[in-house]
């Protein structure tokens, strides 16, 4: 199983990466939305993509919209992992095609439980 982690913080990518690796995922990383799109083209469709919201160059929200505009990624599972916790932000992310939403900070269990909601892991 493949996971793509898009976050501008290396530490955060490491934390999430460690959790997912433990669950048996092969990890790919990107530091912003543009890199994320590049990575997608390189690695093909991951089983899950975890995306931060606030990042330079291209935000997670823009990434989400860009990905959902391409039909080849229709079935790709996308989860926002962000410090943004306002209701309208969660609602907008879901409307734009996010499948789940994690509010930072989180624990290992949170990630596992959300993945099981999505039917991955």
């Amino acid at each position: 199983m493949k996971a793509l982690i898009i976050d501008d913080s290396r530490t955060m990518r490491m934390i999430i990466g460690r959790i997912l690796r433990e669950l048996g995922f092969e990890i790919h990383e990107a530091g912003n939305g543009i890199e994320g799109l590049d990575r997608l083209r390189e690695i093909g469709q991951p089983d899950i993509t975890l995306v931060d919201w606030n990042m330079p160059e291209m935000t997670g929200f823009e990434f989400l919209k860009a990905v959902r505009a391409q039909s080849e990624y229709d079935s790709m599972k996308l989860m926002m992992v962000t410090t943004e916790t306002e209701m309208n932000q969660v609602a907008n992310a879901l409307d734009a095609g996010a499948n789940e939403y994690v509010m930072k900070p989180f624990t290992k269990d949170v990630i596992k439980e959300k993945l099981s909601l999505l039917g991955v892991a």
Partner: protein
């Protein structure tokens, strides 16, 4: 501030007699970490002083607070997920048919903690079974611990609790953000659940017959004798064709053979064997 052996034994005995919770030897650290903060809060300073006070006085409010502090209340929305999927896919549709004549559905969560379990059931019913509108739906949620019941009634959860097991779509649809770190379940869902204090280790109060009983992740704390007694009492309040749900690490096997296991996908639940259903005398 180490706990003396005598004091540990005292707390063990208190928990055993008041709520059947078994505290294994070696769990001294648990008593210390949970009761030291309480001793401070009560202005007693040390754990020694708190236990001395408990010993001096008949069982009262302070003993209750100690028991509350010693219970493990961890829970989350849609815990283990598959039991709720089974409810949605199989069990509730089946019950809707069988209960159609009376249009009544009764569900009991016997160790509801801060409410995530009964509210998960309420959310599931509300979002998936609009046919239930107009039915008499009773969702009773009980726990021993008053603190958790009080929190459950408010339907307020912090960020970590909101992150745990709750689908984001339900967050958006059924909660309001009420402060930087607090969300509250909307009144129309909260009002579907009735919370009451109840000790499973004592005789049950008069109760109707329930179609579904959830008793998850609580029997693990009890000894065999208590588990047997509780399973026997549950038989009297479980409808002959109703289902009992236990936690993943819990079972009726080798405890009470008047239950049979029903396996539905990943979910194991329990039902009374036809011959024994409704035939108990106590």
């Amino acid at each position: 501030m180490a706990l003396s052996r005598n004091d540990f034994e005292y707390v063990r005995e208190l928990l055993r007699t008041e709520c059947a919770i078994v505290l294994e030897p070696g769990k001294e650290y648990l008593v210390e970490s949970r009761l030291c903060p309480l001793a401070q809060r009560l202005g007693l300073g040390t754990l020694d002083a708190l236990i001395a006070k408990l010993r001096r006085e008949p069982v009262n409010g302070v003993h209750r607070q100690v028991i509350d502090a010693m219970t493990t209340n961890e829970t989350l929305f849609f815990r283990d997920l598959h039991p709720f999927e089974t409810l949605k896919k199989t069990i509730v549709p089946e019950l809707l048919q069988r209960r159609a004549p009376a249009r009544t559905l009764r569900i009991w969560c016997g160790a509801c903690s801060t409410g995530q379990e009964p509210y998960s059931i309420a959310l599931l019913l509300r979002d998936n079974f609009p046919q239930l509108f107009g039915w008499r739906l009773q969702l009773l949620a009980t726990d021993l611990c008053r603190d958790v019941l009080e929190r459950a009634r408010t339907g307020r959860y912090n960020q970590l609790e909101m992150n745990r097991g709750l689908p984001a779509s339900m967050l958006v649809k059924h909660f309001a953000k009420v402060s930087a770190d607090q969300w509250q379940l909307r009144e129309e869902v909260r009002s579907m659940v009735e919370f009451q204090e109840m000790n499973l280790a004592r005789a049950f109060p008069p109760m109707p017959s329930f179609d579904l009983v959830f008793l998850r992740n609580v029997m693990i704390y009890f000894d065999t004798e208590t588990k047997r007694a509780i399973l026997a009492r549950i038989r009297r309040v479980l409808a002959p064709d109703g289902y009992l749900f236990l936690g993943c690490a819990e079972t009726t096997l080798n405890l009470d053979d008047s239950y049979e296991t029903v396996t539905l996908g990943k979910t194991m639940c329990y039902r009374q064997k036809a011959a024994t259903a409704g035939a108990q005398t106590f």
